[in-house]
């Protein structure tokens, strides 16, 4: 179970990404952060905190549940439905620059769903994408704007992201467990 990112590294990575976001957007004006459930939400909150530290200005932060937009939702004739959780975007995203946040970028299908979901909330000026890990194997033409770490993986491997908020520890590992998805 090789650890590819520990707590310390994770903190520094998020701080680095925060700087990149501010640099690219020339500040935090008109910026909003939206995390994808489940872990993307907590990463988004940390990122928002880092941005506030740097810019001394709060950044609106929301949570997006993409379950109802999944492209595999009705692919099986029968099968239990994934659990739907709340989407909380308590601000208008019209003409905002929205930074979408997720833990791992893999096939790109989750991001596709998230883009569709976001568009239903309004018409943002721009959508940018932040991920902690890009493990490759894209199935859709999607690319992250800010990447914590590029980790080339094989299809048999799975990437496990653990966060204090959900798992009690900050740590990302690559496991050689076939069949299982992260």
């Amino acid at each position: 179970m090789p650890i590819i990112m520990d707590a310390d590294r994770m903190g520094r990575t998020l701080m680095r990404i925060a700087h990149e976001i501010i640099e690219r957007n020339r500040g935090v004006d008109g910026l909003a952060i939206v995390g994808i459930r489940t872990r993307g939400v907590f990463i988004a909150r940390r990122l928002a905190k880092a941005l506030q530290q740097i810019a001394s200005e709060p950044v609106p932060t929301g949570a997006l549940d993409i379950t109802l937009y999944r492209d595999d939702l009705m692919r099986h004739a029968v099968g239990p439905q994934p659990v739907v959780r709340r989407t909380e975007i308590p601000f208008s995203i019209d003409d905002q620059k929205v930074v979408l946040v997720d833990d791992v970028l893999y096939t790109g299908r989750t991001i596709r769903a998230a883009l569709d979901a976001l568009i239903d909330f309004g018409r943002p000026k721009e959508i940018q994408l932040t991920v902690l890990i890009d493990r490759g194997h894209r199935e859709l033409p999607i690319k992250a704007d800010y990447v914590g770490k590029n980790v080339p993986t094989s299809l048999k491997e799975s990437v496990h992201v653990r966060l204090i908020e959900t798992d009690g520890t900050d740590e990302i590992s690559v496991d050689n467990v076939p069949e299982e998805k992260s």
Binding site: L68, H76, G79, Q81
Partner: protein, 323 residues
Amino acid sequence: MTTRQVEAPPISALRHKDLLGISDLTADEILLILDTAEAMREIGDRPIKKVPALRGKTVVNLFFEASTRTRTSFEIAEKRLSADTLNIAATASSVVKGETLVDTALNLEAMAPDMIVLRHAASGACHLLSRICRAGIINAGDGMHEHPTQALLDAFTIREHKKSIAGLKVAIIGDLLHSRVLRSNVQLLTKLGADVWVSGPPTLMPAGIERQGVRKTTSVDEAVEGADVVMLLRLQIERMQGMFFPSLREYFTVFGMTRERLKLAKHDVIIMHPGPMNRGVEIDSEVADGPYSVILEQVSNGVSVRMAVLYLLAGGAEHETAV
């Protein structure tokens, strides 16, 4: 019996093809539906009130009894989930030509709907269809049997105001005998641990109701005393020809919910009614329009709850596919 935290439903799927009644659901399944409804509600606040979850699914609303409220609520729920919907009202269908319910259903089935939402005057009509149809059946009210989505939206509304249902005193008052809303609510509320009291004229008390874990009394005051929730049932005036009580006037005097009577309840009591109301019969207008009334919230919550039911049932039974 406990209620769980909103964020972590103890189970993650509803392994049923149909929703025939609350009697088929466990407490955990009820909570999953309520939690999912919680998530669904936000969709109604969006500029675009539509998600693609049930894209390509066909839902037939087969209504053998007129019902503007329930049918509209289901239809909005279906449309918000992007299902293709089809409304069949009994009067406009082949039923008037003498076709049996089974034949009507089989003909619909031949057009391969994924779900059928059925409202019918006969108790057990949904069970009959579930035995012959591949499509999932959702009971939108069958005779005097059950009206499960009504009970779910009632529970959803109660939970919004009271956080948890366990331990609440809920008084259900009115025409208990003919009420499917009563039967579903009794099932649901007792499963979630509420202290349920039922009250009404003894002539409208279903036989053996006390065996369902509720307390019955003909004294409305006793039922209302200290209640957290007062739920009034519609007096089905059209069914009241059978000498159940002397007059509407006397009914209102003895069983009607007045502001005076409501003073016996907890100060933060909420008043519910499945509609349509008979003002001045089972409920005083003062109460219906008063500050405790959550009657209109019930209506809007209906959409979220029905979205949750449609979404969860679309997964169907059996399969254990990873997602």
